[in-house]
Symmetry: C2
Subunit: 358 residues, 2 copies
Amino acid sequence: MSTTRPPETSSGPPGTGPPAPPRRRRVSMADVARLAGVSSQTVSRVSTGHPGVVPATREQVLTAMRQLGYRPNGAARALKYGEFRTIGVVLFTLATTGNSRTLEAIATCAAEAGYVITLIPVTTPTQDRVNGAFTRLGELAVDAVIVIMEVHLLDTATVVLPPDVHVVIVDSDAGERYCVVDTDQAHGARQAVHHLLDLGHRTVWHVAGPPESFAAERRALAWHGALREAGRPVPPLRRGDWSAEAGYRAGLELAEEPECTAVFVANDQMALGVLRAFHQRGRVVPRDVSVVGFDDIAEAGSFIPPLTTVHQDFAEVGRRCVEAALRQVRTGSTGTGTTLVPTRLVLRDSTAPPRRQR
Amino acid sequence: MSTTRPPETSSGPPGTGPPAPPRRRRVSMADVARLAGVSSQTVSRVSTGHPGVVPATREQVLTAMRQLGYRPNGAARALKYGEFRTIGVVLFTLATTGNSRTLEAIATCAAEAGYVITLIPVTTPTQDRVNGAFTRLGELAVDAVIVIMEVHLLDTATVVLPPDVHVVIVDSDAGERYCVVDTDQAHGARQAVHHLLDLGHRTVWHVAGPPESFAAERRALAWHGALREAGRPVPPLRRGDWSAEAGYRAGLELAEEPECTAVFVANDQMALGVLRAFHQRGRVVPRDVSVVGFDDIAEAGSFIPPLTTVHQDFAEVGRRCVEAALRQVRTGSTGTGTTLVPTRLVLRDSTAPPRRQR
DNA sequence: GGCACCGATGTTTACGTAAACATTGCCGGT
DNA sequence: ACCGGCAATGTTTACGTAAACATCGGTGCC
């Protein structure tokens, strides 16, 4: 152990290099042990809180630790233990409320379990990039991976997850192959449609999300199904990219449809755009048209008018993701199956019975 | 804890356990080396892309890697290299647009530099929790730390950062002690005030953020300063907690002030609430009152009316954070000083000259 | 033809930690 | 008084990787 360069740590000759500038190499257990006059194993025992160290010795070690500013080396621990106490999260974007709130919940829950989150952003959802993310995740120090993405890229066979990495997926239908946690999109959409029908509307129009999004498809499908089951006509579908601007464009079109008295918009941000379009065209919400959103973002209650919307419990989704991931880690199993988190309809002021027509 | 268990890997007597089902312990270089019939050092050379491996050998090793599904062990590498290629991010919440967008930018930039992000959420901003986060960060496998927080907890002396951890702070005035990157709050606020004054408004009212927020204070201070410099009266300040609901409450109060023709709101979400309050009270924006926000969130263009606001370049803030952090890591220095990212006023439809009064 | 050199590969070692095992010293029972 | 046993601490080793050094053929040069 000669590489360790001459100590020179303590007893810095007060005339050489005053502040000892280039200081590298973190203090290790060996350093603490030397200062405390014990073996490094005893330092380890103190560090990990193991019993069997007499108080006097423990105090001595703790003092040395403080003096040297010792902090355990995570890499060495991970190597020794064979686990990293880390969960990787792959996501395409944090720009959507849902993703960032889910991530926050995941991080919080993981922290409670003593795990931390490692983020792998995949900016362009092309196959190779996804593969890249996973290749790196494989090399990365993670015990499990949670994938938050709105497209079903994972369902194509070309994406290969490292076989011994535990995976939990949010927003997908790969429940047969992977462990999936998601909001109950279908139920939420049905709540929205039924609410509008119950108010007396003849049918419900829909502004859907982009077709690549599994959630968007699920909501659109459920909307369609609910109308069919109720024996109502199914108006033509509009699509947007989740943005308020897209909602605005769809809203301008809908404003031209005299038949349109009720709209279910696939997320709150597009609903904001729809509201603006109706406002601009003089279609008063909810007097002339009712609007229901999806997500219940924090601002929804401050739209004009406050938006009736389907509340997603992102915190719960995050919690279940972490639970599922840690269960897989602990049992060493590869779970499959889908966990659905229920939604809740939040009634505000953007819905009302239709005006008597004609 | 049976991670060790006897090798039994190679030379498996072809009759014992056919598929060797419970397989634990990831494949290591030694496994690959054995299968490829080379030394583990050669495997290492292939794995790290070092030259000096003849193509035939390299191919042999690669084949063995694929066959065994080898993936390098990040912990071992980190231990060997003494660095983790990881940046820790401490934050209080992801619920604000600014935080999540900054985080996304940080993650993206870090990824481009071959670094990943480890998240440490601190849910309650009490002293001990912050200390806890840093204690854990100290043990954690991070080369640097970026702190995103809206309160100036770090300025109190009781919070001690591990001395050898490189730190970059967003949203703080600790530039003398730490490296700080932030939006130029003061300039942004001045842009908003001057825009309104230039339109002809006699003065500008302000709805500020919570006093714990450094950004909120900076914006309020600049608003105050700009008015004083212009010789205008300074109306009483309203405060909110950044939420649209708080903005709504402040807006209801402002709607009662007949003098109030121009409002600068400290963020877009509160501005949304202000708009709703004015709408509800029949004060038409921008005919009766002009409103300017701050942040330029994605939805701002879809408010009713579309919101004139101060654009923050979160992506740039994130980029500079990563740059500063990596610079510190590379040079081994502890940087100080503040980097300000400029803002830009985005003109939309919520501002107009005042109606001729009286 | 011998030797110096170089390129390809193997061997040793260290990174920091903690489990497993070894060693001490003390106490209590017979 | 002796010894078993236990509590406190020390020593060895392994985790997976890669730098540093060692080895071994072959090749070119004189």
